[in-house]
Symmetry: C2
Subunit: 398 residues, 2 copies
């Protein structure tokens, strides 16, 4: 199960563009714009971190004030912990886009990703905006997806279609990930933007987003480090011509599934492209009391540095899985615990099962199955290993 | 501040020994014994992990049943997640020592450290016990200290003396650490054994231990991975001839300070010798609402992989400190936050302070000072960086 870029088909009425504004020293693309021909009903979720970046503060205000027409996002600088200047820079980004698109600044959202605590090169951004606006195109998603990358090694988009309310609805998502990824708390996630031509009321869109995030972006961890800039946005412009999707209806359930599927696909790509990763690891917990406790146990394992290092070494050292589970929930019983690695029992019936050795984990994909015997609930979490590559990238980021 | 082995002077009436029983394939010492000529009042704290290793289960029973005469500890195998056989092996260890020392098995405690989920080489241990007993010596601490090491690179002991209740009291501690170190939860710690000739009642000893652990073993983290085998024991044989130290007295406070000082010294050695560590990092939080929240914030930073990688790279990337703080407490305010690295402000008055660059963190010691402006409480936590060495050791442990 290797995820790679799926060509991003933008839904009807959406355009995108991306270019290099010179924010990154490398000269790689660092500025993206997404635009809808008509106003969008928009739902968003943001990091629970106390030190929310300036663009999140500005976007939250704009979301409350107006429908959305555009979203500008830069990589290479998080515009976080940058004081008053950061706030005015984020406002200026939306105002500048608004001027060139002839919309109000409240109709523009802004997102940033990159290093924390450095002033934003706002003049470079302002200089680049006219070109960014004129480059807007229905085929612009690949350029935009590249421009939100930081340590990502491939651009991440996913598009899906489904018939909802009598019409074909398209949903296209784009995201970036790689590091500082542990968006499990409350409403947190990394940068992910979804665009749809579905006609949907705001309450239904918000509910669909919350459900989708729970099983996708809030079910991945790379390094247990929660970001200050996490933000997921879904914009719906209603151009598909479907009957209005209302909360609590069968159509809302269908849309919710569509959004969930795109979100899970994007979230898995983030783990696939985790900083330094050599493994894609699925930690499945079953037999838990509640879904929340199943997820907590799965995160307990997925965030264990010792487990992650063992995976890097293809070492079936399941004792570290047990230690992580026992540290997460002190009520677990050894007798009730079962652990499988890639389908092979390593602990069962209250005692170890002899395993063959490293061959079991040689491949890129690892599935850890855990049964705790405390109830009927289950959850799955996706993570990567902890490798020399992760240390190298993060010792030398600044 | 570089910690190294201090020659362990055992208090009056104590003996120790260590040797190789062949548990470790390397042939390095792996079995230690500590013995008191007279019965000891003993206090102990154990891991809060659900999957407590068999020796902890056996020791807890023995502690409740009798005074203590001896403690046997092996490295190379944790005897954890080993089912019923593990329990009977741990019992057999105490029974075998008891036979050769002519004491009851309830007077013997047992501790283990090493790999989880492998059967213990109990026959090798039983074969080695007679030699271990005959090797007991008042100068045996260095041998015993070596025998509890796993990935430790140096033996860790500390001895201190103080006049309490009219007599000179000696306290000698030994510990092992290196990895799977995050003993902050409830009553957790790694293997640490302290021996004193003080005459002290059990209630005073228990209180002194809880206080000492809070500021020492429960204030360190290497990898945020809580062990199944953590155990700290303090044995007091009363041979110093001091007036009985009773709970709530000035003597109890003095003894508490003595135990705290030895414990902090040992805990710092553990961090100094952390797996792969190239830095010794002190994270100090001041201006917090409570000591508990100050400690939680300090651990938030100390357990951030991104922060630890930045330290490995001597990179003053303080944004990762801010992100970790904000992830830990969502009520923090940017305006109130101050951060210093090795005495130099990097964030103050609600905005970044320009820093010179990497020279600031070139040395082995890093002090991070954080002020959050939420109250009068403070706490200090000790940690190491996350290096290639840590990954290498833990990808290749089994």
């Amino acid at each position: 199960m290797k995820f790679r870029t799926v060509s991003g088909i933008l839904p009807s009425g959406f355009k995108a563009s991306g270019l290099s504004a010179g924010i990154k020293r490398s000269g790689k693309p660092d500025l993206a714009l997404f635009f809808s021909e008509s106003p969008c009903v928009t739902a968003a979720m943001m990091t629970a971190n106390a030190f929310k970046a300036a663009p999140l503060v500005v976007s939250a205000k704009h979301l409350a004030a107006a429908k959305t027409r555009a979203l500008i996002a830069n990589s290479g600088n998080a515009n976080c912990m940058t004081g008053r200047r950061g706030l005015s820079d984020a406002q200026e980004m939306t105002a500048c886009v608004a001027r060139h698109l002839s919309v109000s600044k409240e109709e523009v959202l802004v997102a940033s990703t990159g290093i924390i605590g450095k002033p934003l090169a706002i003049d470079k951004i302002k200089t680049a905006v006219p070109g960014l606006v004129s480059a807007l195109s229905v085929t612009g998603m690949p350029s935009a997806a590249k421009a939100v990358m930081t340590t990502d090694t491939f651009a991440k988009t996913a598009s899906l279609r489904a018939v909802i309310g009598g019409k074909t609805v398209t949903l296209c998502g784009v995201c970036k990930g790689a590091g500082m990824i542990a968006p499990r708390m409350k409403m947190a996630t990394m940068l992910a933007f979804c665009f749809t031509d579905a006609l949907i009321e705001k309450a239904a869109l918000k509910e669909a987003l919350a459900q989708a995030v729970d099983d996708s972006f809030n079910a991945v961890t790379i390094d247990n480090c929660m970001s200050t800039n996490d933000m997921v946005v879904v914009m719906a412009n209603g151009r598909a011509g479907n009957r209005m999707i209302r909360k609590g209806t069968a159509e809302a359930v269908r849309f919710s599934r569509l959004l969930r599927q795109v979100s899970v696909c994007l979230a898995k790509m983030i783990v696939e492209d985790a900083e330094g990763a050599t493994k894609f690891i699925e930690v499945r917990v079953a037999g838990a009391g509640t879904k929340a406790s199943a997820k907590e146990l799965a995160f307990g394992v997925a965030n264990s540095n010792l487990f992650k290092c063992a995976m890097f070494g293809s070492d079936p050292n399941w004792g570290r899985i047990a230690a992580a589970l026992g540290a997460t929930d002190s009520r677990l019983k050894q007798e009730d615990l079962r652990i499988k690695l890639n389908g092979v029992y390593v602990f069962n019936n209250g005692k170890p099962v002899g395993v063959k050795g490293r061959g079991l984990l040689k491949g890129r994909n690892v599935v850890v199955d855990i049964v705790t015997g405390r109830g009927p609930a289950s959850a799955t979490v996706y993570t990567s290993d902890l490798s020399y590559g992760y240390v190298r990238i993060n010792a030398d980021y600044n």
